[in-house]
Symmetry: C2
Subunit: 238 residues, 2 copies
């Protein structure tokens, strides 16, 4: 039931400091979440830090909080990159929210052969990332790259253990997702899936098939299930 808001950019919170929140955060705190004076909240400093704070004065346009102690910030057990074959904008937004909450470090938007439509606007992406951080308490957003072509995206994902989800690869032997690499990447296709040429290109770059069960998942579902597999099967390396 924690309530979280963002500190003003560049405010570098420290204990005892009185901070006045900006318009959007004041409105969220007072009008959406109806927080009262004296309420204990959490403050995301936008720079990787999370702080305890107390609402002191103000209203839905300018609210002041007093910064308390820093809160220990945990990290997911593995650094994950999602290569997201661009689905329609609503599915992209859903996938970004999911991947942010579960802890993807980077999300690369990939223009695949079967991608249709445009990516969501930067403004919409920023809003969904902020909402997800507030929701889940993650103190800094994932890095969003692209849209770019598949070859470039595979190049960028670099040396991380790579996996791809494609129904074309059903029955192929899986490499153990449990490999204890500190980083891993996951490629999922758009609606309609990856083309045979895209599957070949990914396999050619060393990516391995990852099964998501017997049925065909929507892009945004596949992204979350695949990231879960990679996140929770991993023993983090030193």
């Amino acid at each position: 039931m924690s309530l979280r808001v963002f500190a003003p950019p560049g405010s570098s919170p420290h204990p005892g400091q009185a901070l006045t929140l900006d318009d959007a955060e004041s409105r969220y705190l007072r009008k959406v979440r109806r927080a009262r004076d004296g309420a204990t909240i959490e403050l995301l400093d936008g720079d990787g830090g999370l702080w305890s704070a107390t609402v002191t004065t103000g209203d839905g346009r300018r609210t002041t909080v007093e910064v308390g102690a820093p809160i220990a910030v945990l990290a997911p057990p593995r650094r994950l990159t999602l290569l997201l074959g661009l689905p329609d904008p609503a599915a992209t937004i859903q996938a970004l929210a999911h991947a942010t909450e579960i802890g993807a470090e980077r999300i690369i938007l990939v223009r695949c052969a079967r991608s249709q439509g445009r990516p969501p606007s930067q403004d919409r992406i920023d809003r969904v990332l902020r909402a997800s951080l507030r929701q889940c308490g993650r103190p800094s957003p994932p890095t969003i790259l692209g849209p770019m072509g598949l070859a470039e995206a595979l190049e960028l994902s670099g040396d991380a253990a790579g996996y791809l989800c494609s129904t074309a690869l059903r029955g192929e032997t899986e490499r153990e997702a449990e490999a204890s690499t500190a980083a891993a990447s996951l490629l999922v296709g758009p609606e309609g899936g990856l083309t045979p040429e895209e599957v070949d290109a990914a396999l050619g770059r060393g990516l391995s098939p990852l099964s998501l069960g017997p049925w065909i998942l929507r892009t945004e579902t596949a992204a979350l299930v695949g990231l879960s597999r990679l996140l929770f099967s991993a023993a983090p390396s030193a």
Copy 2:
């Protein structure tokens, strides 16, 4: 890129049979997915079977298909029951779609202390289940039970290895989710989470904490990530 429609209820498809689809399926096939005569599709018989089929004649109101060979139907590696602490209707619909696609066998809607609002209507639930089955190729829907109280839901979930997700249990030792039981159940709370009393009741029934990573997931995200953990970490028993 497979395209799936439902056979008329009670039609018991067999190879070579000409089947006329009902209005809704004809419309979906012809107007939404723009399938032409001669297109190869898949036919869900609503009774656990999946068939190859070919579009032969008709239009967006009455389309006839010829039934081909049965398609082998796979099963998920573990029988899963989701105990879903009722969130708002939109999140419930999202969780039902996710859980259907990943292969939950049963979904029990649970009225928790922090549940707000009403469950979606039966009609809306039916529609989302049908859309999910068409999408993912799963031939029969999960059983939906409830809404009911937590005690009754825990009773119903029976002897399956039980897990619960709650941020109140952070740092508690996890039982190995890898336990090779053929069945498992998962309890997730509504927005705002499970109350301490609900957590105690679940622990008292033998449920074990399951971690979903460092941050606080939305109800519908938690349900999917938790089901993924239980599904893919399991070695199915005989």
